[in-house]
């Protein structure tokens, strides 16, 4: 029990937090971009699985890690294209299309894995961890926090990049306008559909990369259904973060921390809490958090609503 209160325990928790948050950061930041343009994609879970599988299959076949991530991002974008075609061009209900994408993602990756990649034995070589100069020398915290692989570090860039894109470029300005006042954008002579396509494609390729993190930068194997609900968590993160990419980064970390703490507390024999209670913690916390956020103003005005030209 005592070592729970030590700096070492804290540092371990923080390191695990960041690693467990990484796939959620990718997916939720992507979803922020998509939802800012007014498109709600609940198919993140399926998209992440597609990314995880494609990345794994590519690296298994070629041994080339960067190519694996590239393929995962492209596969995510392809899933996004399918989603966008139905949700934006055909103007079908976005929740329905998202549900279909989840089914397709789970079905396709499991089917192809069983048909082509059953015996993958050793798995693939994953992205190696690297020390951040100086920072990794900090006592206690250095090793757990600053000895991660480059994908984990890149989450900072992803969040900052999305922030820059959304709030510091004219593309981002228009993209947000598409989510709030599509009619104005349309009248101004720009294509609402085009911006929404772009937002969905960016969002889904990030989700694909988040999936690829699972197979190429954390575990080294593909397991059917291995996203284990992370895509749904990312959806909750977006709401909790009030559609801000920087917010999504920190809220994802909070979730990562709950995951990490859950695993750590279970390993403490002196704590007699049923493990199911610990596992339910992150989900309970989300609900409580939603009550605390309690806002309606930040929601993109046309979220989930297809745009029809006048």
């Amino acid at each position: 029990m005592d070592h729970i209160l030590t700096l070492g325990f804290l540092a371990t928790t923080l390191g695990a937090t960041w690693r467990l948050a990484t796939p959620i950061i990718f997916a939720s930041v992507g979803e922020v971009i998509s939802e800012r343009a007014g498109v709600l994609n609940i198919g993140l879970e399926g998209t992440m699985l597609i990314g995880a599988f494609t990345g794994f299959a590519t690296v298994y076949a070629t041994g080339n890690l960067p190519l694996g991530f590239l393929a995962a991002g492209a596969a995510g974008a392809l899933a996004g294209l399918l989603f966008a075609f139905f949700a934006i061009t055909i103007k079908a209900n976005q929740i329905i299309v998202g549900a279909a994408l989840n089914l397709l993602g789970l079905g396709l990756t499991s089917f192809l894995f069983r048909t082509y990649l059953v015996q993958t034995g050793q798995g693939v070589q994953i992205v190696p961890a690297m020390d951040v100069p100086l920072l990794s020398q900090i006592p206690y915290f250095g090793t757990p926090l600053f000895r991660q692989n480059v994908v984990v570090y890149s989450t900072i860039l992803v969040a900052l990049g999305a922030y820059f894109l959304l709030f510091r470029t004219s593309f981002g300005l228009t993209l947000r306008a598409v989510g709030e006042h599509p009619k104005a954008v349309d009248v101004g002579g720009r294509s609402v559909a085009l911006y929404r396509y772009a937002a969905v494609l960016i969002g889904c390729s990030l989700a694909g990369l988040g999936g690829a993190y699972l197979t190429l930068a954390h575990a080294n194997q593909f397991v059917e259904g291995m996203t284990s609900g992370r895509g749904f968590i990312a959806l909750a993160v977006v709401v909790f973060a009030r559609w801000s990419p920087i917010g999504a980064f920190f809220v994802s970390l909070l979730f990562g921390m709950f995951y990490a703490l859950q695993l750590q507390l279970q390993a403490e024999p002196s704590i007699h809490i049923p493990y199911q209670v610990l596992q339910a913690m992150p989900y309970l916390a989300t609900i409580v958090a939603l009550l605390l956020v309690r806002n309606r103003t930040d929601t993109p005005a046309t979220l989930g609503v297809p745009y029809r030209k006048v």
Partner: protein, 331 residues
């Protein structure tokens, strides 16, 4: 899993034939074939629990010349009875339900199909022709616990879900460790599923940071995440390979391999059934069945198990087989 087109074509032709046979000739036409079916609750493609049953089925096909078929039902208790009935009505002589959860449905269907033998994995049922086949993993895990306690400082165990085969295995490990060294610390984590390799890896990393130098998974495919964590942690951290030989994944860290050659055991039982002898009680495979439950050492590990620890292990192995040491159900 992929076969040539020709064989798949003929498989289908026979399946169509069977569908018809079921309606017209009530299975008479195919009475002479010996057929075995398998029900699993997950994917046979993944390393671990379901794969063991699949391998066993393939062994029955190869060694006994049986026609085989399997079905992956997901975790859906409502579908078990129908699948049993599908096979039984097609004249399958033996059906293996791979998990204790198949027990109820097998007992129900068995009343209607008195000629079919229902084998249930991880169960101790014996009710007419419904026969439990349990592999007592607590025995090899007891040996692993003993090794960990003799060689290490603390151990961590990562289980998939809290179900009997896993709970008992972890219990065996703890007992083995405590008997070897009374104050050896063992911590446990359940993932709540068999798919989250990411969580399995993080749980292992956390245990290693907490001072464990032995981290052992029992979580099917998710367990690969644990092996990965141990490998990355370097040669000072050790683990064991569970159910199938994964030594090549972490050759420096895996000190030994527990292989449940369930196929051997199943072939033995099914051979008996084919020749007309149905077991008269439930079957419990343990260390006494040296052809089924195997535990071997990896001499190429960074710190292979030393001679005197091996001697201790041989000693307790003999006592377990003789029934002098109880590895599970201690209270």
């Amino acid at each position: 899993m992929k076969k040539t087109a020709i064989s798949r074509r003929s498989l289908l032709a026979s399946a169509l034939g069977l569908t018809l046979a079921g309606t017209i000739w009530s299975g008479l036409a195919h009475a002479q074939d010996f057929k075995m079916g398998l029900l699993v609750t997950g994917s046979v493609a993944e390393e671990g629990w379901n794969r063991i049953a699949y391998e066993a089925l393939k062994r029955v096909e190869k060694e006994l010349g049986a026609k085989i078929s399997y079905v992956e039902l997901q975790q859906n208790p409502a579908s078990f009875e129908k699948a049993f009935r599908d096979y039984a009505s097609q004249g399958y002589q033996v059906i293996l339900g791979h998990g204790f959860e198949f027990q109820d449905s097998a007992q129900t269907v068995a009343e209607e199909y008195p000629d079919t033998v229902f084998l249930i994995s991880s169960s101790n049922v014996h009710d007419g022709k419904v026969i439990g086949l349990n592999t007592d993993s607590s025995q090899p895990f007891y040996l692993m616990g003993a090794i960990a306690a003799k060689m290490g400082k603390a151990a961590g165990l990562i289980g998939g879900m809290e179900i009997p085969p896993i709970k008992e295995a972890l219990e065996g490990f703890v007992n083995g460790a405590k008997d070897a060294s009374a104050d050896f610390k063992v911590s446990q984590v359940y993932l709540g599923n068999f798919t989250d390799a990411t969580a399995a890896k993080e749980a292992a990393i956390n245990m290693i940071h907490g001072g464990a130098d032995f981290v052992v998974p029992d979580a099917d495919a998710a367990g690969l995440g644990t092996i990965q964590a141990v490998r990355e942690a370097g040669p000072e951290i050790s683990t064991f390979s569970i159910f199938s030989d994964q030594t090549e994944i972490a050759p420096k860290n895996i000190l030994g391999t527990y292989i449940a050659d369930y196929g051997q055991g199943v072939v033995r039982i099914v051979k008996g059934i084919k020749e007309g002898t149905v077991p008269t009680s439930n079957v419990d495979f343990g260390l006494k069945d040296t052809d089924v439950v195997k535990f071997s050492y990896n001499d190429k590990a960074a710190h292979p198990v030393s001679e005197d620890v091996r001697k201790y292990v041989e000693d307790v192995r003999a006592k377990i087989i003789a029934g002098e040491i109880k590895t599970r159900h201690r209270q």
